[in-house]
Amino acid sequence: MIVAKGKPLSQVVDMVSDRERILVAACAECVTVCQAGGEKEAVSLAQALRLWWKKAGVPWTVETATIQRQCEPEWVEEAAAMVEAKGYDAIISMACGVGVQFLARRCPKLRVVPALDTMFGGGTVAPAVWQEFCGFCGDCVLDKTAGVCPVVRCAKSLSNGPCGGSSGGHCEVSPDIPCAWVEIYERLLLQGHGEDLEGIVPPKDWSKASLGPRKVTKQGGGGR
């Protein structure tokens, strides 16, 4: 899933300080799971904003709504109709960067701003702890690295084994980060495939990751 985390309240306030009718829009998918942009977080952000503006002595309106999936046109369409009906002049999206852009594209006259910083493709590793596992590089190598991604789990994205800073099973960048190449090495040995470590892995094809916005179209896709 996409993992995100909330921006500081003051930053969110600054983004909409000249607007009067504001919708805080939660998303019921990934950001709900990672407790950053679900209904619960939207309600508490709205409360915090009301309190902030009350102290400032301004009578702005802040309401909340949950959009099932902000990266899906059908759900966004439904939300846009509601936004129009209620006359909001700004939307604080609590979705990932995809959701913010879908809302902004559908409501081009409104100010649509992000309440979150979108972090990475990751998963839950402990209660209320999410970690990055995928960098969406478009060129998956997990078959060669025993299911451990060196592109995002190695701080230098090394393809050919650990650097000289691997120490005590940790990355040189932080003792809190396990060395991905130690994990790859140990798992390949465990599987009896140590020879996989011997070949020289050629340079990665980054054109699969950095040619502007990428598209995936299934056969017959694209509609009319």
Binding site: K156, N160, P162, C163, G164, E172, I200, V201, P202
Partner: protein, 302 residues
């Protein structure tokens, strides 16, 4: 044209190289002074590439100053700051300026440097850079296009006998040799027991006979400096060495003595073909260390 370092190594002589750290400014006087000091007592002089991710005068520009003082510069090149386009461009540029040696590295992570917010490039890793540089020597760019005037550089790399997983280090060095490394300069060696085990692995796996291994040596400046190093990931400093420094009346003198002893000791280890003296900010000590270690005068070539 073959550089001095390559000649020394291929003649089977025990090589001596040293390191020069370029300044954090545009004045080349320090590089020139150190190059003049080191050229007569070492076979090649490494120019570090923004070491520890701190911005300094470029290694390639510094190498030109070393050439001007009659040295044989080793340009260090990390993949941290440049993609494959810039790396290949600088390799051609280095060769065009008369540089003969290239040391291929990944580099320290930017977070350790003085611009921690910069983006680490890491388009290639050190092994891929070696492979690309070897391909360039053979007349082709990384994309397969032909190079009409290949750079013909003598390629080296580093290896850290103290990094983990220990069982993988010699294998990884073998990969570097397969990728084109002709010489290797190791991480600073203080812990001789671990280093002997590492060398035994490189000899057993046949790596040592295919690459010239130069052992990294740094004269400890003080007991404090040693203790500091002992806590950096990838370093191994025996406790007894720290105690010895603490007990010394003149720590700087003792550091030189330790470096000299280490050089004499590693010369006896099978597979070791030279030493690389890293005395950054203490380059003035190098001639004395080379002489005390019995490695002066350096071999001459017609």
């Amino acid at each position: 044209m073959t550089g001095r370092l390559q000649k020394v190594l291929e003649a089977g002589e025990f090589a001596v190289t040293a390191e020069i750290g370029p300044p954090k400014g545009a004045d080349p006087a320090g590089i020139r002074r150190h190059a003049a000091l080191l050229a007569p007592c070492t076979d090649a002089q490494n120019l570090t590439d923004n070491q520890t991710a701190v911005v300094r005068l470029s290694s390639l520009a510094a190498a030109v100053h070393v050439l001007g003082e009659g040295g044989d510069p080793v340009v260090q090149m990390t993949t941290r700051d440049r993609n494959r386009i810039a790396l290949q461009s600088d390799i051609l540029g280095a060769a065009s300026l008369g540089v003969r040696n290239l040391l291929c590295l990944t580099g320290d992570h930017p977070v350790f440097g003085n611009h921690p917010g910069s983006k680490g490039v890491f388009d290639l890793d050190s092994i891929q850079l070696l492979d690309v540089a070897r391909g360039m020597n053979e007349g082709r760019f990384q994309n397969g296009e032909e190079i009409k005037s290949p750079p013909g550089l003598f390629l080296g790399t580093t290896e850290n006998p103290y990094a983990e997983p220990f069982g993988y280090r010699a294998l990884r060095l073998r990969k570097k040799v397969a990728a084109g490394a002709r010489f290797v300069q190791t991480q600073v060696v203080y812990d001789l027991d671990t280093f002997r085990r590492f060398m035994a692995q490189t000899v057993e796996t046949g790596v040592a006979e295919r690459v010239h291994i130069l052992v990294g040596v740094t004269p400890p400046r003080s007991a404090r400096a040693l203790k500091f190093m002992a806590n950096i990931p990838g370093f191994s400093v025996p406790a007894e060495l720290i105690r010895r420094m603490e007990g010394a009346a003149d720590q700087k003198r003792e550091g030189v003595k330790i470096a000299t002893e280490i050089i004499r000791e590693v010369r006896t280890i099978p597979g070791v073909r030279g030493v690389h003296i890293m005395a950054i900010m203490a380059e003035d000590l190098v001639p004395g260390i080379v002489e005390e270690a019995g490695l002066y005068p350096r071999p001459r070539f017609e």
